[in-house]
């Protein structure tokens, strides 16, 4: 995470002191880093090439703002361009004046269509709509059962006449059923390869039979370079209206979002980010841009923090942070909260300013270490937790024994603690520009 783009750019620009305009040389150097970062984020190489050329044009000769370093200025431009590109187009569904509104879901195998259908149904239901699910995946064993179960959980009717019927007929009859039993028809289809002529033909036939108002392509956010091939084929053969990104709760950078948007020209409408049927939302291009660049998704951190942090505790914590009185007890509490929000590195990755902070370099953020850190803190006495400077040689040994770790580990933790203290003091003194710890 610390070799995230912003950090690398800071390094690349270290020699640059003054402000003024971005020179061709600055920009070239930055573009190299950006190209690599985008490739590492799985953006398709052709899309990277075009995108970088475009950004370069825009960055040349730009005045570096007073409050920014040249590196930050470039990141700002890249971020804006990414956000604009991914945000273009209407992210809303098209609703038909005459019910039912028909939504056809399509995608490769295993991209998450069935779950997404149920999540979308729930989302629409919360909006006061009356969705109906239609089970037109007759190929994958138990796909129909899966949709039925999910429909039950969401509390919406499921049209599932069986696996031995033609999916085209199921879709057509299902829409009829939806007309009588609801106002939105969501059609789940079998996963298929974009090069499978027969199944792509079937999808085109479903389309002609029901004339959907929305055809959504479901794309796994972990997809690599091939995302463009699949998306483009789907667009050509069935004509997409939009994209749903899934599995965003993982730690993939999600460059496929940019690739798919760029090659199909279709907007990303929804993002699915968890196992629960509620983990589904409209797409936020700004968050995605930060994620692809690996540079701090402030918005979603704030949102997540608001969701899971007890407000009073958060205020207390913030006051402590500001006074730089952060003890191991607080740390333990913080760990607990953080775990509720997701992985520590993903949270830290969302903090603006963090990736660029040299001071944080040595602070351990490996998620696997969390357990050990927790164990070590648990092995400290309450007094030690409040006054870590008490922990001398023999105490270190005791903590190490108690937590099944080595004295070096305890030393490391104490060192990290001291560094954190130092950083907090700096923060308190207002020396670190742009570092905000929202809600913490």
């Amino acid at each position: 995470m610390f070799d995230a783009l912003s950090d690398r750019l800071q390094n690349a620009f270290q020699s640059l002191k003054g402000h003024g305009k971005l020179t061709a040389e600055d920009v070239d150097q930055a573009m190299r880093e950006i190209r690599l970062a985008l490739l590492e984020a799985d953006v398709n190489f052709k899309v990277v090439r075009e995108f970088v050329a475009q950004v370069k044009q825009r960055a040349l000769g730009v005045e570096v703002m007073e409050s920014l370093t040249p590196a930050q200025q470039v990141i700002k431009i890249v971020n804006e361009e990414l956000t604009t590109l991914m945000g273009a187009g209407d992210s809303k569904l098209a609703f038909s004046g005459r019910a039912p509104t028909i939504i056809l879901m399509a995608g490769l195998q295993g991209s998450g269509k069935t779950t997404t259908c149920a999540k979308l149904a729930r989302h629409l239901k919360k909006d006061g709509k009356r969705p109906v699910l239609i089970a037109a995946d007759v190929y994958r064993p138990a796909a129909i059962d899966q949709l039925k179960t999910l429909g039950e959980r969401v509390g919406v009717p499921v049209y599932a006449p069986g696996a031995d019927l033609d999916p085209v007929d199921i879709a057509r009859d299902g829409v009829e059923y939806a007309r009588l039993n609801g106002d939105v028809a969501i059609i789940d289809t079998a996963g298929r390869l974009h090069i499978d002529e027969e199944l792509m033909g079937e999808l085109a036939r479903i389309r002609s039979a029901v004339k959907p108002h929305n055809i959504l392509l479901v794309v796994d956010s972990m997809t690599g370079q091939d995302a463009v091939n699949a998306a483009e084929e789907f667009r050509q053969k069935v004509d997409l209206d939009g994209v749903v990104l899934t599995k965003l709760d993982g730690d993939a950078r999600g460059g496929a979002a940019l690739s798919v948007r760029a090659v199909t020209g279709r907007p990303i409408k929804f993002a699915s980010n968890g196992e629960k049927l509620d983990d589904f939302d409209t797409f936020h291009p700004d968050r995605m841009a930060s994620r692809i660049l690996g540079m701090g998704d402030v918005l979603s951190l704030i949102e997540k923090a608001e969701d899971s942090l007890d407000a009073r505790k958060a205020a207390e914590m913030e006051a402590k942070l500001r006074r730089a009185e952060f003890t191991f007890e607080d740390f333990l509490e913080q760990l607990k909260q953080v775990r509720k929000m997701g992985s520590l590195s993903s949270i830290l990755g969302m903090l603006p300013g963090v990736p660029g902070m040299k001071e944080l370099k040595n602070v351990q953020v490996d998620d696997r270490q969390l357990d050990r850190i927790e164990a070590m803190i648990f092995s400290m006495t309450p007094r030690e937790r409040r006054n870590p400077e008490l922990i001398d040689g023999p105490r270190k040994q005791r903590v190490a024994r108690g937590s099944g770790t080595q004295v070096q580990d305890v030393n490391m933790l104490l060192k990290q603690y001291r560094e954190m203290q130092k950083m907090l003091k700096m923060f308190k003194g207002g020396k670190v520009k742009g570092l905000r710890l929202p809600g913490m």
């Binding site: 998450g112 138990a142 179960t149 090069i195 370079q225 699949a230 730690d251 993939a252």
Partner: protein, 332 residues
């Protein structure tokens, strides 16, 4: 494909069919390379008129990147290629591509080729199947069971994905198709308990290979990864030496995140091999190069479709050729 299956047990027609299919498969892979890939190849060809130059290396890099080998992996391969070509004074197209395929394949071959096979020599053997959501775990289990049946083994499936809706029904359907027994409990039960039952049932049901299906989970989901660790511990305790194989099922369309997946699953449950699925699409699954190179996990099987028979042993040489469409040209 398997270690621990007596040679004589495999019917000759199965072997013949496998060889024929494999040829067909890689031919098809080459044909399915897609427009983007063909453009790259055309580029490679035209670049060759001026011999092996900078531009050609750049195009090789591009092809590797397009195959999801990743920036680091690509740099490594191209550096090695350049080193070899300089040392051997390679200047023509044919030897250049041979060298290239060799470098890529080399990065995928474990020192001991035996490590590429699925070990089912213990009786009973236990195969634990793990991976993120939707990669093809359940389908792969169906295919493995079918192959084992063909080879005279008696597999037993264990439905330890108790989370996903209808996952048990899905595995049951595959058990029917493959013609093997299945141990299951109702949805929502504790996976560790199902696994315990499953391993215990192996003897009583006369099974010699136990294949365990688990719920898909993202490697970032701490609790679910812990649950998997627990499942593994239950197996270890119950049957010393088990699980004999822990297979990570990886979707070939996965990009750079595949390496993170492999790291985390390895850390949690000590993965012994990768199954690369969906190679019948246009994705190349190049991230396996990094997985093998940096984690030392061998790639054991590939999935090439949704039918029972669509499972093949992983062949590094053919994989490398499929990435570049080099070598024999019959598929194009």
């Amino acid at each position: 494909m398997f270690k621990g299956v007596a040679e004589g047990d495999v019917p000759a027609e199965v072997i013949a069919e496998e060889q024929r299919e494999r040829k067909g498969l890689f031919g098809r892979l080459r044909r399915n390379l897609g427009k983007a890939r063909l453009a790259v190849r055309d580029g490679l060809k035209s670049a060759l008129y001026v011999g092996v130059d900078r531009r050609l290396y750049e195009q090789v890099e591009e092809t590797l990147i397009a195959a999801d080998v990743g920036v680091d992996g690509t740099i490594k391969i191209v550096d090695e290629l350049e080193r070899r070509c300089t040392a051997k004074k390679i200047e023509a197209r044919e030897p250049f591509f041979e060298e290239l395929a060799d470098v890529v394949a080399g990065a995928l071959k474990p020192e001991d080729p035996e490590r590429q096979r699925i070990d089912v020599s213990a009786d009973p053997s236990v195969i634990l199947v793990v991976g993120v959501n939707g990669t093809g775990k359940t389908t792969t289990i169906g295919k493995i069971a079918f192959r084992l049946r063909q080879m005279g083994k008696t597999p037993l499936m264990v439905a330890a994905d108790t989370f996903r809706a209808a996952a048990v029904e899905q595995l049951s359907a595959w058990a029917d198709r493959a013609g093997c027994d299945i141990v299951k409990q109702e949805a929502g039960s504790d996976p560790a308990a199902v696994v315990y039952d499953g391993v215990a049932a192996a003897r009583s049901r006369g099974a010699d290979v136990v294949i365990i299906d688990t719920a898909g989970r993202l490697h970032t989901q701490v609790n679910l990864m812990r649950e998997l660790e627990k499942v593994r511990r239950v197996i270890e305790k119950q049957l010393p030496g088990a699980p004999h194989e822990t297979l990570l099922v990886l979707d070939a369309t996965t990009g750079q995140n595949g390496l993170r997946q492999a790291q985390e699953f390895k850390q949690a449950v000590d993965v012994t091999g990768v199954v690369l699925t969906k190679l019948d699409g246009t994705a190349k699954g190049g991230i396996v190069v990094a997985i093998h190179d940096s984690l030392g996990i061998p790639i054991k099987l590939v999935g090439v479709g949704e039918k029972l028979e669509d499972l093949r042993p992983f062949e590094a040489d053919e994989f490398a050729r499929a990435v570049f469409g080099g070598g024999d040209e019959d598929g194009d």
